[in-house]
């Protein structure tokens, strides 16, 4: 393809090809601080392409392709090319990765121990991780957490954080503007702006962390924390894993160990400040 980039996020080496320069340039800016090793074979391929040659210029619309595709996915306008690239990268990892059990969860770490937060879109897991990552925590990822099936350790996937809607202003107020990507307004997922993780989080992206606390956040309502049994945590995490079924017994073993060894809570919180305070409190108790 005309425009190419190589990006390494955690253990995943992406090869990205695009019919247009803009999405690749935007990606290269977001991922400029990530380690580069172009000699490594690619684990995942993302293609951003025009369905017809003239659609590169005439009402350009970006189709997402690669090793895995979603049939009938709607293309995005070129102004949202960066979002298309991000969606393509997520898709390839979600459908193709087999070396780890993949959890749709954010994670942060302290002293080699990981706090994993799993929830639906809108649960606030991404915002909580981003805000914690600006404090005393190492951001491991806002979207995926990888669990080593053999040893049980959590591995980071610190892609650029996808801030959405209200979270954009909240985080933008705390970080250097150079760490923010362009505002993608009114996308199918709302307003989106990417946050480049801190340099120390990127530098430590290959370091494993031992899962120490599992949280299932829900944004809104009174502040509450409810301990969750192993069985319910297991059920929720099978639903949150994109490759649990594909991993077979290795996934089953990894997940049973994770829920047995890691205390879990369902939490709800009315705003980010309360959420952070609750998380820190539960962490302090879990760390005892």
């Amino acid at each position: 393809m005309r425009h190419k980039a190589r990006i390494a996020v955690g253990p995943v080496q992406f090869r990205i090809g695009s019919d247009w320069a803009e999405p690749v340039a935007a990606l290269e800016r977001l991922y400029a601080g990530y380690p580069q090793d172009d000699t490594r074979p690619a684990d995942a391929t993302v293609r951003l392409f025009a369905a017809r040659p003239w659609r590169r210029w005439l009402r350009p619309s970006v189709h997402i392709g690669g090793d895995f595709i979603v049939p009938d996915a709607l293309p995005l306008p070129l102004s949202m090319g960066l979002l298309a690239a991000e969606m393509g990268m997520n898709l390839q990892v979600a459908l193709g990765w087999r070396r780890h059990m993949l959890l749709h969860a954010s994670a942060v770490a302290q002293d080699g121990r990981a706090l994993i937060m799993s929830g639906e879109s809108g649960s606030g897991k991404s915002t909580l991780a981003a805000l914690l990552g600006e404090g005393d925590w190492r951001l491991m990822g806002d979207e995926f957490t990888l669990i080593d099936p053999a040893g049980g350790d959590a591995f980071a996937f610190p892609r650029a954080v996808s801030l959405k809607n209200e979270a954009i202003a909240e985080v933008a107020a705390r970080v250097d503007a150079a760490r923010l990507g362009p505002l993608l307004a009114a996308t199918p997922k709302g307003d989106i702006r990417h946050l480049i993780p801190r340099a120390d989080a990127i530098a430590a992206m290959h370091e494993p962390a031992r899962p120490a606390l599992l949280l299932f956040p829900r944004f809104g309502g009174e502040m509450a924390a409810e301990p969750m049994g192993e069985g319910e945590a297991f059920v929720r995490l099978t639903e949150a894993s994109t490759n649990y079924v594909a991993l077979g017994e290795a996934g089953f073993a990894a997940l049973t160990r994770l829920v047995r060894e890691t205390p879990a809570f369902a939490i709800s919180y009315p705003d980010s400040a309360a959420g952070i305070a609750l998380v820190e409190q539960l962490w302090a108790e879990a760390a005892k």
Binding site: G229, E230, G231, F234, V235, T238, Y244, E249, F252, T256
Partner: protein, 93 residues
Amino acid sequence: MTDRTYRAAPPGALRIEPLGELTAIFDRRSMQTHLVVSPMPEILDAMGTDPCSAALLVSRLAAAFDLDGDDDVQPILAERLGELAAMGLVERV
């Protein structure tokens, strides 16, 4: 109603992991995960290797649990055995 007989999965076919109130069962033959609650794990545990009916299960489970004087137990176990068969965890003989 006839008391059907069932056969347990062959040794090593199931990986059974208790997780609090739930029990997760991985079936190595189908690669499927099943989540069950009591009395399913107790039934699987009591089945042994020979064909087993609900009546036989009542007598075996009565030794381990307090089932005395409860006439409902056998039809309930027959129903549960049917459900385990539907999941593929036991086989109708």
